[in-house]
């Protein structure tokens, strides 16, 4: 229940983050677990610093030190960011740099209604929930029934089920459902063919308009999505890529090599010609390998209804006027291409 409110002390049922010298572990605080035979046994969590009796966590304060059999660690209350780093991966997940930008680009504040597809491992969902609480709501969909169920159970266990509805649904084929028509402030898509979801996003958004964001690893997905967004009168269509690098900070001692003494014949020739002194730097080193690509974020604004229809009409006129135009030809090319990897209904 530890995702709902700020807490001072650990209670049974909480999920806690165990911090061990730069390693993070998420632990569900259950004093007992079932073994393979189905018998309840003492819950002991194994770490590189030895065993942790999970029962002992109950009642201790967040931020405090906990004893392990061969050392110690600290327990933190989970945040969506810590959860992203420790959650069980059911799919590729979206990490904090992209999540943060998605939240900002979708103009989300407490009270907003936001649609997410697909749910995946729930990494983004947790951050969406935090942002739209206490009066908003997240509707999240996954076409994989098992994943949708696991997500539902997880939100329940984390005490945030009140703010989220997790459903199993193939939204590209079926849309978000009539209940959500005109209800959403923002729609986020992380799907293999997001362009087919754009029309559903238009249906789901409020009359006063809203924001759209799509996360796609491949540029072809982005290109099709941008075309679909333009066709549906979206404005301010913009695509970006976010990467984050962690600098490795350390104090480094660098040898200094003196060569000046060689200019003068001297009677005492040094036998060892080693570096003569040292210089200290605090250096921030770029890591040898770092994430090089997560996905492209494509964002756009759906204008209010009354402008929307007008733009739409303009658009149609424009399309007509250049039917035999090269750009138009290009568009239809893309639409042919679309069929190649379109989802089966």
């Amino acid at each position: 229940m530890s995702f709902r409110n700020f807490k001072d002390k650990i209670e049974e049922g909480d999920t806690v983050i165990l911090y061990l010298s730069n390693h993070l572990h998420a632990i569900e605080v259950k004093p007992e677990i079932k073994n393979k035979k189905g018998e309840l046994i003492e819950n002991v969590y194994q770490t590189t610093f030895g065993a942790l009796k999970v029962r002992n966590l109950i009642g201790s304060e967040y931020g405090s030190k906990v004893e392990l059999s061969k050392g110690w660690g600290h327990v933190l209350q989970p945040t969506p960011e810590l959860w992203s780093l420790t959650l069980p991966h059911r799919t590729q997940i979206i990490y904090t740099p992209d999540i943060s930008m998605i939240l900002l680009q979708l103009d989300l504040v407490p009270g907003c209604v936001v649609i997410e597809a697909g749910t995946g491992s729930g990494s983004l969902t947790h951050a969406l929930i935090r942002r739209i609480r206490p009066h908003g709501h997240v509707y999240t969909f996954d076409f994989h029934d098992h994943r949708a169920m696991l997500a539902r159970e997880e939100f329940e266990a984390h005490g945030i089920a009140d703010f989220v509805t997790a459903q199993h649904r193939d939204v590209l084929a079926e849309g978000f459902g009539e209940d959500l028509n005109g209800k959403a402030d923002a729609v986020f898509l992380d799907l293999p063919s997001p362009w087919t979801g754009v029309k559903h996003a238009v249906d789901a958004m409020k009359n006063e308009g809203g924001r759209f964001c799509s996360f796609s690893p491949c540029i072809e997905q982005v290109q099709r999505t941008c075309l679909a967004l333009e066709e549906h009168s979206f404005q301010d269509i913009s695509t970006m890529e976010i990467l984050q690098t962690e600098l490795k900070v350390s104090r480094r001692t660098i040898p200094v090599r003196d060569l000046s003494f060689l200019k003068h014949k001297s009677s005492n020739n040094p036998v060892e010609e080693k570096p003569s002194s040292e210089k200290n730097y605090i250096v921030g080193a770029w890591p040898a390998t770092a994430p090089g690509h997560t996905g492209y974020l494509t964002v756009a604004t759906l204008p209010p209804q009354y402008i929307r229809t007008k733009c739409k009409a303009d658009k149609d006129m424009m399309e007509d006027s250049k039917a035999d135009n090269q750009i138009e030809l290009q568009t239809s090319d893309h639409e042919n291409g679309k069929m190649c990897i379109a989802e089966n209904p």
Binding site: L227, I282, Y296, T298, I327, T331
Partner: protein
Amino acid sequence: MIPHGTKRNKEYRLELAEETYSLKQEITLKASGADNRNIYDDGRSQKLSAVEIDELKFDSNKASDIVETIITNSTTFHNKTEFSQEKYLKKKEKKYFEYVQILKPNLRNISEIMYKLEPNKIQGIRLDTLSQIITLSNVSCEGNHLLYDSGSNGLLAAALLGAMGSRANGKLVHMHPGNMSQKQALLAMNFETEQYNKCISVNVYSVLRQLYQGCDTHTVEKEDSTLKRKAVDALEHDVKVSKLENTENATSNVDIVNTGDENKLLSPKKPKWHFDNIAASEVLSNKVDSLVVASKEDPQNIFLELLPFVKPGRPFVIYYSVAEPLQSLYITLKCLSNVAALKLTCNWMRNYQILPERTHPEVMMNSSSGFLLTGYVLQ
């Protein structure tokens, strides 16, 4: 936008547009060249003189007429590639077709405008970095939060307060080192009064003195700054323009509106800052759920002084525009070992042009994102 006034001192009159036009739609391209092999750049391709074009601008009402005349008088336009023609029209469109759209202010457009106009006035905090300050500090409708900000013109306070929402309990203590807090972005957000009042802006010396030494000390020395504050608050009330124009060529500073009904401020005896200090020091003595520092000063002293006000297990985020002071603080904190999961990060962000046959990253990028030092407080 209809231009009037002289060339030097341009003014525009706004007219409600029932329809919008785009040049590409109005002007039919008849012929285009395959490439630029026959184009010589000798500065003589336009047969109209600058004066003639200027006259055209004042005579003609529909911009497409102007541009069509210009094209007709260009010797090279029809030899240009289709791509170059489009580029040309886009340039002309910007010059002769100007629309303004009135948007509701929100953190995204306010921070984009402030970053574009004067990144130095918001310590160079780029959109992606700003977005991460909000998430990594775990700010939500719950809890109390502490911000030390010595120069982002209220952007960070606006960002955090926005994420805290209205109709919820938390408070944001917004510490600043100056005589008065910078509120430009905070005011620009058009927060409702209830939400706006959740932000308690206090001078860092006053509030810490209040906290450590109790009430009613040093009132004598404060007289002077009180007067200054009153003047400023009164001034703010005069600012009337309430809309932010999100046009590409908006180069003037952002106008602000004062949403607060803080008239009690002008009531006699105890000034508002007096009560703010008391309220803020109460929040601090109960400890807060996150700490954000974005200082122009070296962050080390400030962070170490404010760290005791943060509950154990809670996150902190320190922003600085260059890495070196954060690297130095990193080494200090590693030695103190009172924080967990310490990380120094740097962001990279690039925008893309997505157009059929012309998809590529944008040719210029903002390569300076600033740096974040983040972690969690231990007991």
